[in-house]
Amino acid sequence: MSDVLKIKKPVEEGITEFLKFLLEKNKVKGIFTLRKAGKTDSFSYSLITDVEEIKNAAPLTPIMPANAGQLLSSFTLEDAIKEPIAVVIRPCELRAFVELTKRTQANMENIYLISSTCAGVFPLKSAQNGKFSQLLPKYWEAAKKSEVLASLRPTCTACEHFVPALADITISVVGNKNLTEECSLHLNTSKGEELAQGAPGNKTTEKLNDKELAQLKELRLKEREKLFASVNDKNLGLAGLVKTFAPCLSCHGCRQVCPICFCTLCDFDSKTHEDTASHYQSELNQKGGARVPSGTIFFHTGRMIHMAVSCVNCGMCSDVCPADIPVATLFSMVGESLQKLFDYLPGRDLEEPAPSETFIENEFAGLGE
């Protein structure tokens, strides 16, 4: 049970009004949220400081131009922000933010976390043909009904962690039948309540709509099975991976947009893994041919080893892949098994150490004996 602030407006308008209130009343000095930027259908995250600018905020628009966790890391990498801000981000972004904070790549001080039960986002490509707005009614319809929309980002259709953990305020979206009439803000923490103090709307107390959420989770899990099955045997195993990654341009865009890949200089972009001419020559001698540049599969498997345990399934990697490789699906799959192995869910808890930083003395008994 938590306190809920209900604003009698459609959910998008309602949250925007709430953000405006926060800024107007100086509760925060800035709002970090999606905002319409420039051209039609261009959305990007922004730090809004001017109340006037709130009108362009689009906090719940189902698109993810970048994982906000990564952006907040770039904002707070040097030091904690000094003045309070509120951020409106999706659960997977919040989880990424937490993961980054754990690794001292970000700082959560002075940040009010607002998130939502997330109905997913569309692939970035759907916002490029000018028809993005036509997708929205269907989206909200599906959200209301706790349904899975097939045109979403593949990883979103298969995401089971759509209820935010650690948010100060949760916007009820998934399965919320009233979202076209009212905006429900669940005040999960004292910080959340503090924010909502004096805000327009009614305060009540209620639980999140468990039933609808459970329904969606079930659907999503089914989708997950389907999605994982889509990368079938043909795509896996050595031969399968070769085909899967055949079109890879080695642009490493997947790594660049990955919120978890926080290294300043990726090992795979360093000289360590650049091959010499003599390497290629010996490949040539042994195999009659060598792919240049080498290391495509090594890069992807290596990256999985580095970060899949912290993968939050945001799907950014697939979305930026110019060669349409289902990177995110593979990472989700690998990530899931790794996370199960270590009983770890990235971003669920700020105090929980990452599996690579800790160990249990008597785990994996018998191994190596």
């Binding site: 930027a37 420039g38 990007s44 922004s46 600018e53």
Partner: protein, 141 residues
Amino acid sequence: MDKDFKPNIVGFLCNWCSYAGADLAGSNKLEIKPFLSVVKVMCSSRVNSNLVLTSFLWGADGVLIAGCHPGDCHYEKGNYYARRRFALLKKIMESLNLEPQRLQLSWVSASEGKRYAEVVNKFAEDITKIGPSPFRKNQNL
């Protein structure tokens, strides 16, 4: 023209000629417009696009690079490279109509205190006329 507009101009000055020229202008009590902030570098060749673009995108209304006259470089040939780097950047700004007039290169020697004041004042005047940099208010940088 905005009467209250006080431009922010960054002036990269080489230590040996232009900074000395600025000092001379100072000791001669020549009046300059208070819009230029000097950033001293050892040689004008230290100034590259990274520094200039950063200044612009962070909101500078004008960027002035001043170094020794060609042939006078304290490090023999630094300013020749500076000139090329400048020419490139200027051309890029021209190609894209990014208000290239906001970027200026001037040679000011250690004896040219007066010239320093003139260059700064003229540039400040020009920039005041052009008005605030569009990047100052651009939210989508």
